[in-house]
Subunit: 413 residues, 2 copies
Amino acid sequence: MALYVQKYGGTSVGSVERIEAVAEKIQGFKRQGHDIVVVVSAMSGETNRLIGLAKEIQPHTPNPREMDVLVSTGEQVTIALLCMALEKRGVPARSYTGGQVKILTDSSHMKARIEDIEVSSMQADLAEGRVIVVAGFQGVDAGGNITTLGRGGSDTTGVALAAALKADECQIYTDVDGVYTTDPRVVEGAQRLNVITFEEMLEMASLGSKVLQIRAVEFAGKYKVPLRVLHSFQDGPGTLITIEDESTVEKPIISGIAFNRDEAKLTVIGVPDIPGVASKILGPVSRANIEVDVIVQNVAADNTTDFTFTVHRNDYEEARTVLNQVAEELGARDVVGDNKIAKVSIVGVGMRSHAGVASKMFDALAEENINIQMISTSEIKVSVVIAEKYLELAVRALHTAFELDVNNSVSEK
Amino acid sequence: MALYVQKYGGTSVGSVERIEAVAEKIQGFKRQGHDIVVVVSAMSGETNRLIGLAKEIQPHTPNPREMDVLVSTGEQVTIALLCMALEKRGVPARSYTGGQVKILTDSSHMKARIEDIEVSSMQADLAEGRVIVVAGFQGVDAGGNITTLGRGGSDTTGVALAAALKADECQIYTDVDGVYTTDPRVVEGAQRLNVITFEEMLEMASLGSKVLQIRAVEFAGKYKVPLRVLHSFQDGPGTLITIEDESTVEKPIISGIAFNRDEAKLTVIGVPDIPGVASKILGPVSRANIEVDVIVQNVAADNTTDFTFTVHRNDYEEARTVLNQVAEELGARDVVGDNKIAKVSIVGVGMRSHAGVASKMFDALAEENINIQMISTSEIKVSVVIAEKYLELAVRALHTAFELDVNNSVSEK
């Protein structure tokens, strides 16, 4: 008998049939004697429909307060329908909007942050054997205004409720059955991980494995809420995202290979090697609302240096325009770029204590004659930028080199 | 400078274009210096869509609490969109759900009654020049549960807000430009009334002129809120529904002709003339959830009597089945019925002080050779049941006989 907070995303509740299937699933957990708090998203397509209505009226900057009043109805529809489907099965249930819980947030409409959660009412319902169904993604500020947490915020709601209720686990039901060593569409032998640490998950998520909202993972890590990713409609253990277990002696060096093909790189050549030059280059880029990913600056030669960074491929042209202007002002020699690149990263807490991980990576790529254009490293990750055409080849080579193709010690747990 | 509560129904806010048009209209009132509180319904079709989703899950008795959580989202969408359309025009506005106001109701889900309305927050917004946009049809009970007032409840919300805020007028914007002496589709010369009393309006509404929710009219009468029916998108004074003005010397005898063609009549013949027989007949009918309208019992002859009443035409067959059973138990002679009947009523507070109104009605019908099958009277109304085929003829004859074809003294005001 445990207390689980279960989050079902928009696809999992995308139709009446799916809502019925989720109810069926929850009934099963109740029969096993568990206490269940469910967090649901809007039915898939509904949020976009509502935003579409708003944009017909205010195409550019819809009033944020009213936007939250509008889009929060999406989840409210789902909680009511799911409770009906549960009641139909004889499972007592009660729906809660974010305001009814109440999930107190700050007043930053459309991107509010949770400040506090009142648990007394939910605890009373749980004690009476009810399933609690909470609208994800929404809260209420101190003035009683409806707020939303921003896109994907339902994951955050789930984790925050799990933390507040001291749940045994926060389970994120989605359309994949767990976190993989890499994308199975690229590497046939990709393995589902049974366990991954929060830090690894953060690196994997930000590098393109879009299973979980980064903010929810951070939140779970901060409050030490065990988080599990599972498939909504297939049985299986999923992947548990947890704090690093020091007792685990046998730790795989690398947990997974992440990649991102939507990048472009830009280099300002012959920049005078003087202090403050980096911010002079990146300042205008940032002011143009362009997000920068990898940044590399080589050591100077001839009192000039080359400054390279990557941006999202969609921002490539705009970034070039900004840089041409900046290069002129700085007296740099040239701006060159390439929007046919990809980033590949190896991620694993194990690499902290293992020397030679990076060189093993570079070896594996060299053996395939893949030229490395940029390198960037962190405590638990090494990323390289390569020509996009080599992406699949690189991912497969690394997957094999780090012995992820076979069930490793973690996934055998 | 006045305070108006304006209610716009589902058709008036049925699309983004119409919501924009309503915003335009409200902007005009603000320019005239008025304070405006707006009550809106769900966009037309939305409530039915939501109910449809619920019925896919629970076809017969959807959980009433969750039904209210579900359908209340319809109005919530409209308040947000209307506020955006107002803000776009530079009109400061703020939306309120029923719970945010708060409109406190009892806990009778799907048919809740308003118990109290908190006005402090709305008054503060009005003082700051904001238009207030309130979701109609919904409230919240003492436990914080979302409730709804039942279909058409947005009219009631409007009247209740007008009473609580002591508004100068509650204006119901709809798809007709006022209350008419009778249905203009039946009588070409039907006249819009400038004024009608609450009592007359109640009789007109319950008899088939479906302009306003009966409950809203009762509420307005009770709290003496001047109520005006107007067309959403055509200019005009509409019809003011008000308390009887004793100073009005020139009062028309009849304000309007109401009719209802959806009726059927049933007669139990040869019922023993003993006490309690009426309840023995109507009890089983009522228990079958069949609503009875006109009831007539003739004086007894031969120790037996005939007992006749009308029901909605849809309930005719079921009522006959019930009555056959009852007739046997009572030892009545027979049950006969007719589902090709219609009811025509003349309504007017003026008839209280005028003798001969009923006979003038009967004369007018006799002149057209229309046979009267049943008669029923109240203080301000006389109803007759006739064969359905004579309905239009009867309404036109009465409209002329009571001189409603020309602008009468009321509509000339």
